[in-house]
């Protein structure tokens, strides 16, 4: 039997020894930050440590629109996989729902799209929102830190634009970024009118914070429940309007007509395992990201359904992807205790004064570099300089010195601003107000996706995208507070412009699965064997021992 660990305030004794060093250096570190890295230093550390930049883990895509481009193996595996269904098995003559607009995915993007389509003349019963899990079971719900919008007098949408472009290493689509930053204050205004409760000071002005790589304070937060507050308000409004909504009904393939327009989708009931056909004049993909693919073995902040279904289906229909070679690792995922490894500890902690420190209690990086740079610095500290703290199961991490938040901002700040996180750590006997917490980068976000334009349109007629599933807004690295913003700006835009597209009198031919037949031929011609199917819909966490004795008896 292994030796029993002794615990002090929720930590094994040996880890708490390191916390004592952190406590000792805290008074000296208060208010003193290391300088920011120069552009050259940033480039060096990215090349040295960032999982996107170091060799391995990726390969060339063999078929389709992005043939020849490089992407992580986990993504290429899903692109180079066979559809779940074949046209001979599906009766397309029997349509279950005929609507104007089908929205796939009910996070902030999909829900915003439904509301704006409705505002722009599409009656509620001509919209259908379908969810793989429940409405709101989405990464949006888990967004903590805030939403960026340049509304303070010393700020402007143009400054916001420059931050976004720089943060994305100038690989973003400029016109798409312009729409993002110009719509940002309009989105906050929209939410204010719907009754969302943003953090305010005594006079009723917004309390705004900064973020990594952000030059002005423009983060609008709702404690550490920002995404949840935004989404539950929008969902309440959605329910007030009685817009039809399906739950536990993932889309498993898009439908196309003879002119290659997207014409709806095949849905699949997770419980009864029957398929349903939706014919739609316009289809909005708002399926989110891919954290549950655990790229390069990283733990993730993402919810259970984040399995990249959207881009897989869109790619088969001929949509173009972009920036799929980059992945966002959030610098501060929980690294201890084991039950919560990978879960998000918001960047707002660092914007409120928490500092990253190593096992000796020393600062080693400016706390608010852009996410890719900050994450790389943490990896260097753990694996190259060997200054990390090793957990009982062998993971490494560095301390995030959270007690500084109350010291800098006054007692009670942490409890008031981060109720969700205080609660989470309390369950394990850890008091983050008094003791630091252990962090390591965690798989957080797909920077790229299905290429969008400023109206949320893709290169395929009838197919719109919004939110994390789309590519072009963030280039090769997203800044804090721009994802919830992206979801709402482009959710709204996809709603408006799909309504406009439908109102112009778009006519559809018979929906088919011809594009999947073509895709299957491409797979065969490229010599790809029929050993994988996609989209995978849900991740599989059964262990090797279980899988070794599994039999399929139905």
């Amino acid at each position: 039997m292994a030796k029993e660990l002794k615990f002090i305030r929720g930590y094994p004794e040996y880890m708490y020894e390191s916390i004592r060093l952190v406590n000792k250096t805290r008074p000296k570190r208060k208010g003193k930050l290391l300088p920011q890295m120069t552009p050259k230093e940033r480039e060096e550390i990215l090349n040295l440590c960032h999982p996107d930049y170091v060799p391995g883990g990726k390969r060339e895509i063999k078929i389709g629109q992005n043939k020849g481009e490089i992407a992580p193996n986990e993504l290429v595996d899903l692109l180079e996989a066979y559809p779940l269904i074949e046209s001979k098995d599906i009766d397309l003559a029997r349509i279950d729902w005929t609507v104007d607009i089908l929205i796939i995915g009910g996070g902030l993007a999909g829900t915003s799209a439904a509301l704006l389509a409705n505002d722009n003349g599409i009656p509620a019963d001509k919209i259908l929102l379908t969810n793989k899990l429940r409405h709101g079971d989405a990464n949006s719900m888990m967004a903590q830190g805030g939403t960026q919008a340049a509304d303070r007098p010393n700020d402007s949408p143009v400054l916001h634009y420059i931050d976004v472009m720089g943060g994305g290493h100038f690989t973003n689509k400029p016109d798409v970024v312009k729409a993002l930053v110009e719509d940002a204050p309009l989105v906050i205004k929209w939410l204010e009118g719907l009754g969302a409760m943003f953090d305010r000071d005594e006079e009723g002005n917004f309390k705004e914070l900064t973020g990594g790589g952000t030059s002005r304070r423009r983060m609008h937060a709702c404690r550490d429940y920002t995404g949840m507050e935004e989404l539950r308000v929008l969902r309440d409004e959605f329910r007030n309007r009685k817009i039809p909504c399906l739950e536990f009904y993932p889309a498993i393939e898009l439908l196309t007509d003879q002119e290659n327009k997207v014409a709806g989708a095949v849905l699949w009931n997770l419980e009864t395992e029957e398929y349903k056909i939706v014919k739609a004049k316009a289809t909005i993909l708002a399926t989110g990201g891919f954290g549950r693919l655990h790229i390069r073995g990283f733990a993730t902040t993402n919810h259970y359904g984040a399995t990249w279904d959207g881009p897989v289906m869109a790619y088969r229909a001929g949509a173009k992807l972009r920036d799929t070679d980059t992945v966002q690792y959030h610098p501060t995922g929980a690294a201890y205790p084991q039950q919560i490894v990978g879960l998000l500890l918001t960047e707002k902690l660092r914007t409120s004064g928490a500092q990253p420190v190593n096992k000796n209690g020393e600062s080693f990086v400016f706390p608010l570099e852009p996410r890719d740079v900050e994450a790389s610095a943490f990896i260097r500290e753990c694996y190259i300089r060997d200054n990390g703290i090793t957990t009982p199961v062998g993971l490494r991490g560095i301390w995030l010195d959270t007690p500084l938040i109350d010291i800098i901002n006054g007692e009670g700040t942490t409890q008031k601003s981060f109720p969700a996180m205080v609660r989470m750590f309390n369950r394990f006997g850890i008091d983050m107000i008094k003791d630091p917490v252990l962090v390591f980068p965690t798989l957080h976000y797909q920077n790229g996706g299905v290429e969008t334009d400023p109206q949320g349109k893709t290169n395929i007629e009838g197919l719109f995208v919004a939110g994390e599933v789309s590519g072009g807004v963030h280039g090769k690295n997203r800044l804090m507070g721009n994802s919830t913003l992206d979801c709402m700006v482009y959710g709204r835009r996809a709603g408006i412009y799909s309504a406009e597209y439908v109102s112009k009198g778009t006519q559809l031919n018979v929906p088919t699965l011809k594009h999947t037949e073509k895709y299957i031929k491409m797979l065969k011609d490229a010599g790809i064997k029929e050993e994988r199917k996609s989209p995978i819909l849900l991740p599989d966490y059964r262990g090797k021992a279980t899988l070794a004795r599994m039999i399929d008896i139905f």
């Binding site: 509304d151 420059i162 931050d163 110009e182 030059s215 039950q339 109720p419």
Partner: protein, 175 residues
């Protein structure tokens, strides 16, 4: 739980995993929700009873509070709603994740989390002033005030844009 005779309800994502735990899924909590148009309402305290008359049936059994995985004082905010105190409802219910465990157990069939949602929306919309900076910026954007500046910045070469970005990063507000 192993060795326990009682069935417990909880959120899988909010509960600490323990040895010997056996999990059965309840896919969703069914709940009725009235429709309302906030634009046609106002900050009248009677709005709670107008849309949720059943809150008057609360017998103060406190089962809702005991069921809450977020440790909220659920019964207290229902009492605040009965008094029409929007600020208290908003404050006491803010951390609600709308899981529905309270509503599933309530003998009076109150759907607590929908009551709280109405309270927070009314509070956010009618009891907070319009934010001044935001009002001004929205007006500026609608007047196309930034078009020229955007045209200029978007017309820059990559090298020029990089220089401006680097400079902007050095003048940043940190805290």
């Amino acid at each position: 739980m192993k060795g326990e005779y009682k069935l417990r309800t909880c959120m899988a994502c909010q509960t600490r995993v323990e040895d010997g735990m056996f999990l059965v899924q309840i896919p969703f909590a069914p709940a009725e929700k009235p429709s309302y148009d906030l634009e046609k309402e106002s900050g009248e305290p009677s709005i709670f009873l107008k849309f949720f008359p059943e809150i008057a049936r609360c017998v103060s059994c406190n089962t809702c509070t005991k069921a809450c995985p977020q440790d909220l004082q659920v019964m207290d905010y229902i009492q605040s709603a009965l008094r029409g105190d929007f600020s208290a409802v908003a404050e006491e219910s803010f951390d609600c994740i709308q899981c529905g465990l309270c509503a599933m157990r309530c003998p009076a069939e109150i759907v607590h989390y929908h009551v709280a949602q109405l309270g927070r929306r009314v509070y956010g919309k009618y009891l907070n002033p319009l934010e001044k900076n935001l009002e001004k910026r929205v007006a500026e954007i609608k007047e196309s005030k930034y078009d020229k500046e955007f045209e200029k910045v978007m017309g820059l070469s990559l090298a020029e844009l990089k220089t401006i970005y680097t400079k902007q990063q050095t003048t940043r507000e940190v805290y």
